[in-house]
């Protein structure tokens, strides 16, 4: 098994010691293969996402994986040129909707989306529909991901979808997620998709960018 396959597997296993050791090797060898190492870490993140989807990993593991990824970026960044993250899937927006200040789920999704090649514009928490519309227009965004934890978040999501339509942004795809979100809530909100699983979020968003 090559070092990069080992790195990918160690990331998937959330084995911090091996991940750090292998990344340090890359840097000690001059850092020429930092890009390949970063790719291996991203592929490892996909394994983490798949294991979460299978019910073998839990939210805590995703948070730990996010931390490991962050460490990887810090170790490799001196040797990475042009930014550590690839963004071949294009730009998208993610935020927690108006009225809701929770950000754990949003942040997990963003780290998984970024690891998968999306350039995510994080608008933060408690974001009114108007701001989302404005940023969508300004940045020519085609995917908007809305997160929320409180019951009232569903109503705020519905208002955001309506505001996007009113602004003529009918071609923008909207995905919603968070603990109050269900299939029925998605239908009521009028979003294009829903999900409470970061890996699935990545898959759906990827399917939209072809």
């Amino acid at each position: 098994m090559s070092d990069f396959e080992r790195l990918k597997a160690a990331m998937g296993d959330l084995n911090e010691d091996i991940v750090t050791e292998l990344l340090n090797h890359v840097m000690e060898a001059g850092g020429d293969e930092a890009g390949k190492a970063m790719d291996a870490c991203s592929e490892g993140m996909n394994i983490v996402g798949e294991l979460f989807q299978k019910g073998e990993y839990f939210v805590g593991d995703l948070i730990y994986a996010g931390e490991l990824m962050q460490q990887a970026v810090e170790i490799l960044s001196p040797a990475l040129t042009g930014g550590a993250e690839q963004s071949d899937c294009g730009k998208m927006i993610m935020c927690t909707v108006e009225g809701d200040l929770h950000d754990i789920g949003k942040n997990i999704c963003i780290s998984m989306l970024r690891a998968s090649g999306f350039d995510v514009l994080d608008l933060g928490i408690d974001v009114p529909a108007d701001t989302i519309v404005e940023e969508t227009k300004k940045n020519d965004i085609k995917i908007v991901a809305l997160s929320g934890v409180l019951t009232l978040a569903v109503t705020a999501m519905q208002k955001t979808v309506e505001a996007l339509k009113v602004a003529g942004l009918d071609d923008v795809k909207v995905i919603i997620g968070g603990s109050p979100v269900t299939e029925e809530a998605c239908r009521q909100v009028g979003a294009d998709a829903w999900c409470n699983n970061p890996q699935k979020t990545v898959e759906i968003c990827k399917s939209w960018v072809g």
Partner: protein
């Protein structure tokens, strides 16, 4: 017969393992919902909750509910804006629309477990309070005292603000008069306490891998404080100790069993031994833990918001009391007929054999979280479809069916810089009557309560 008498019997039966006349069912209107109904800006409402009194009664009278469908403001629900703003709270903040909530923060370093475990009261008073509340800065004692006293004054006013409407309905003879005084309490599970208020969700998750034994040790040290906090002064089967549960669904089974569960079980079994019923808020998917939940002390109320209804009923229904589960989605988007049909469908599964208290999976916060006509229709449908044909028969298992005994170590607080010591007091005040001791110890308990109120 007054409706209150009918309901008092219904609840007395239910919590003493006798199938009642029908499934218990109460509404809960938040001050935010009442404010929306009154057409008042939520920020203005929180400046003076008393402006809700008339509208609270009006809205309450529109719907069927066993208990008065709203309650006076407390420090916990909704988190009173003035109280937390006066203290300079970092852990409770208002969103743009005026709803108070708890954003993720971390106010303890991973290197501080030892200090917390050595003397939890000292660490919380001296280190945590100033980090949670910028106006509790012990280097500015006068300003800190001012903030605390002003915050307490505002809280007292908020707590009384909705009392006139509440007491009028309570005294009307139309509602369940509630469990005996002193039979309710609330607390936290030690591991959740560390995660929610001290290390933060993310910090706790990372510590599970890097500071596991320190978490375990600290949970043991926090246990007596949190156990005593949740011990009602006069336990009764109709009362309960409310324990919102947070971390289990987010962590691995191994972490749950080795870190979260041990101190919870000590707490739970000693509560059972004291005749205390636990009310557990189990938000999230607990399917993987059902066998463990089944082993919790008999008669525990389990509020759930998801899961396979038949599986939950089958696994937990015979021993425990289920509540929640009815989908808010249908109240938001369905028709009245769909609401009635869904009530029937849920009661057909959850009601038989007793042991189910009707409630929604996710409590509405704002009025537009549900259609009001659906909310009203739901309440009526529960009374219609929730009738038992076998009322009067025994069901379930009685509290402490298992015969647990109290773990006395949970009742002994470790020595603390902030603990009250009667012998020391007596030396300083040699003429003080022995009769004063109980009072002083009560004030000491009140102090601990206030300190933990500030971190829960």
């Amino acid at each position: 017969m007054r409706r209150a008498d009918y309901l008092n019997k219904l609840y007395h039966d239910f919590y003493n393992n006798i199938i009642p006349d029908r499934v218990p069912s109460s509404r809960l209107l938040t001050p935010y919902m009442i404010g929306d109904y009154a057409g008042i800006d939520l920020k203005d409402m929180q400046a003076d909750f008393s402006i809700l009194n008339e509208k609270a009664k009006e809205l309450a009278k529109l719907m069927r509910s066993d208990a008065v469908p709203f309650y006076p403001v407390s420090y916990m629900d909704p988190r009173p804006e003035k109280f937390y703003e006066l203290l300079g709270s970092k852990q409770f903040a208002m969103s743009q629309m005026g709803v108070m909530q708890h954003p993720e923060i971390s106010v303890m370093e991973d290197s501080e477990y030892g200090e917390l475990a050595d003397d939890p009261m000292k660490f919380i008073v001296e280190k945590i309070l100033p980090r949670l509340y910028k106006n509790i800065d012990w280097s500015e004692p006068g300003k800190a005292m001012q903030a605390i006293l002003m915050a307490k004054a505002s809280l007292a006013e908020d707590e009384n603000a909705l009392m006139p409407a509440f007491m009028e309905l309570f005294a009307s003879g139309e509602y369940y008069e509630g469990p005996p005084m002193g039979s309710n309490a609330s607390t936290s599970v030690p591991a959740d306490f560390i995660a929610d208020m001290l290390r933060g969700f993310k910090g706790f998750i990372l510590d599970l891998r890097k500071h596991r034994s320190e978490i375990q040790e600290t949970c043991e040290k926090l246990l007596p404080y949190l156990f005593i906090r949740g011990l009602p002064v006069a336990p009764d089967p109709e009362g309960s100790t409310v324990i919102p549960v947070h971390m289990p669904t987010y962590i691995r089974q191994k972490d749950f069993e080795e870190v979260w569960l041990p101190t919870f079980l000590k707490m739970a079994r000693s509560y059972a031994a004291c005749g205390v019923r636990m009310w557990l808020g189990l938000g999230g998917d607990y399917t993987r833990y059902l066998d463990i939940l089944q082993d919790f002390p008999a008669g525990t109320i389990m509020y759930m918001d998801q899961g396979d209804l038949r599986l939950l009923k089958d696994k937990l229904g015979g021993k425990h009391i289920l509540t929640g589960l009815f989908p808010i989605d249908v109240l938001r988007g369905g028709t009245e007929e769909e609401v009635r049909d869904t009530v029937k469908k849920y009661l057909d599964i959850l009601a038989p054999g007793g042991g189910y208290v009707f409630d929604i999976d996710r409590a509405p916060m704002r009025l537009d979280d549900v259609k009001l006509e659906n909310y009203i229709a739901m309440a009526e449908a529960v009374e219609e479809y929730g009738k038992y044909e076998n009322a009067g028969q025994p069901f379930g298992q009685k509290l402490n069916n298992e015969g647990y005994v109290v773990d006395q170590s949970l009742l002994r607080l470790p020595p603390s810089k902030y603990g009250f010591d009667w012998e020391t007091y007596k030396k300083e005040h040699p003429f003080a009557s022995e009769a004063l001791r109980a009072k002083m110890e009560q004030y000491d308990g009140d102090f601990r309560t206030l300190i933990f109120d500030l971190v829960i």
